[in-house]
């Protein structure tokens, strides 16, 4: 087995630094394997959050060589092992310890989005009839594993810390899944514009680039939501016709 150098961020909310470790690496290994090896042999106090090791739980999000990625899905064969590999916690969230960050803000945000409100059932037995083509669009959004890599890479949160004004790509996807659902009757457009701050997104598509589920976050969720906001607030012709129709 060959040996490679890994620089892992060690510290807590008060501060920290990259610490260097040597690890034995072999074919088929992923970064999370190396972190576990370091934890088992050199740093038993190293904190790391992980669960499924199959890219489905979204727990082991980190920044590998500066790029937000899942540790369990980053094969060593895709990295240049002649250079030290850096592993850091996500930058958009407060650090707890080592590679673990406090992502609880995300769950508080999620609670603020208006929940699903279906229309009256179509059949007497309380069921609905939906065309498969209509529901396919929102099924893409349900692939989200809440790894929060998109939140981490979004510069509105990462660089400008607009956590109090912008819900971030993950929750714009969540809002899109509800807002575009063929059964849903709730209107979230006003919240999207004001409280959820969809206008802060400047569509640089970094969220799409890092999504491990390959959800087209910007094209299929955020931009369609922006267009719905335009319909309601920035399209004078539509506003005029709504006015003629007696709607606000």
């Amino acid at each position: 087995m060959a040996t490679a150098t890994f620089q892992v961020w060690r510290g807590d909310e008060a501060g920290g630094s990259l610490r260097e470790y040597k690890a034995e690496v072999g074919e088929g290994m992923v970064v999370l394997d190396v972190i576990h090896q370091i934890q088992a042999t050199q740093a038993p106090d190293m904190a790391v959050r992980w669960n499924c090791k199959a890219g489905k739980c979204g727990s082991c999000s980190a920044e590998i060589n500066g790029r937000p990625r899942l540790m369990c899905m980053t094969r060593l064969s895709t990295l240049d092992l002649t250079q030290p590999v850096t592993v850091e916690p996500m930058q958009a969230f407060p650090k707890v310890k080592d590679l673990v960050t406090d992502v609880s803000w995300n769950f508080r945000v999620k609670r603020q989005i208006k929940p699903f409100r279906p229309r009256t059932p179509d059949a007497p037995d309380g069921t609905w009839r939906i065309d498969q083509k209509d529901v396919e669009r929102v099924q893409e959004f349900r692939k989200c594993i809440e790894c929060f890599l998109c939140q981490d890479v979004c510069h509105v949160l990462r660089e400008h810390h607009k956590h109090d004004q912008f819900i971030g790509p993950r929750f714009l996807v969540y809002a899109a899944a509800l807002e575009m659902h063929p059964l849903d009757t709730e209107n979230r457009v006003e919240e999207l514009r004001k409280a959820h701050g969809v206008g802060f997104c400047n569509i640089t598509k970094c969220c799409t680039a890092v999504c491990p589920e390959e959800i087209k976050i910007t094209d299929n969720a955020i931009i369609p939501l922006k267009e719905r906001v335009v319909d309601e607030y920035y399209d004078p012709i539509k506003m005029f016709f709504r006015f003629l129709g007696g709607r606000k």
Partner: protein, 280 residues
């Protein structure tokens, strides 16, 4: 809204742990768009060489460059092209200084369409404004308003520019129809195809792919509804637009290149630098 328990530190400009050449893509976008802007401005203010038939060498051809289409009026002092909407500058526009070419009056529409395009916005925010320079790379400014307030909130006008872009497709298609007719030297026209015809036709195809793959078009063609099967022109059309939209960046660059190349080709014909290749 819930606030994360800060503090979180902002990184300095260009600061990143990324090892890859993250600066290549924004630099390529910067160079590509800057080159186009410089060339387009040169052509808009040149006010000449917009119609291939002006050259004696290519007198039989009937190509109008897309930069000057629709041609509102022929540039004063230049031989009539036969493409102008008005034979001379209309009295309504007489107050315009001489250096304002007919192209300057119409290019605001395609330029506005591209400037407010969702793809280009993301690209030039990175390449020209470093907001951010690239994903997970530190920014030069601390303040940020995004498209939430003036001036960038005006980007929401995109759907109106889309309407003009569709109109321009009809006009450019009509120019391709003109490009199929070659002067026979006896005052009439003969049907034919030259290299210029193919270039102008390809340009229209690429522009159509770009325009119909636009995010606003997708919204108007059914994306704005919760049930896409009830799209105004049918679910098939919505799917078609979505299909083009998946390669919107590619269409954007190909069509930008084809517009510039079509103009270079016609300009060189009009200046007599090279001769058109007549296929039949």
């Amino acid at each position: 809204m819930s606030q994360a328990a800060l503090p979180l530190k902002q990184r300095g400009w260009g600061q990143t742990m990324r090892r890859d050449a993250w600066w290549v893509q924004p630099l390529a976008v910067f160079l590509g768009l800057a080159a186009f802007l410089v060339y387009a401005n040169f052509r808009v203010f040149e006010g000449a060489h917009y119609y291939s038939g002006h050259s004696e060498r290519n007198a039989a051809t009937n190509y109008l460059t897309p930069f000057y289409s629709p041609l509102l009026f022929d540039v004063p002092g230049v031989r009539p092209s036969g493409h102008a909407w008005w034979s001379e500058k209309p009295a309504l526009l007489a107050w315009l200084p001489g250096w304002v070419s007919p192209a300057a009056l119409i290019l605001i529409f395609p330029a506005g369409f591209r400037f407010t395009c969702y793809y280009y916005r993301g690209a030039y925010y990175k390449a020209f404004w470093a907001d951010p320079p690239s994903c997970a790379v530190g920014e030069p400014r601390k303040g940020y308003r995004g498209e939430n307030s003036l001036p960038l909130i005006l980007q929401n006008v995109h759907r109106y520019f889309l309407l003009f872009a569709v109109l321009f497709l009809f006009i450019l298609s009509y120019d391709v129809w003109h490009a199929l007719w070659f002067k026979d030297g006896a005052g009439g026209y003969r049907f034919g195809v030259g290299l210029g015809t193919l270039i102008l036709a390809t340009n229209v195809v690429l522009l159509t792919g770009y325009t119909f793959g636009c995010h606003s078009m997708r919204h108007l063609m059914g994306g704005g509804r919760d049930c896409v099967t009830k799209a105004p022109l049918g679910h098939g059309f919505y799917e078609c637009v979505s299909c083009l939209n998946r390669r919107h960046m590619l269409w954007a660059w190909l069509s930008l290149f084809s517009v510039a190349f079509s103009d270079v080709y016609v300009r060189m014909l009009a200046a007599g630098v090279w001769a058109d290749w007549r296929i039949f």
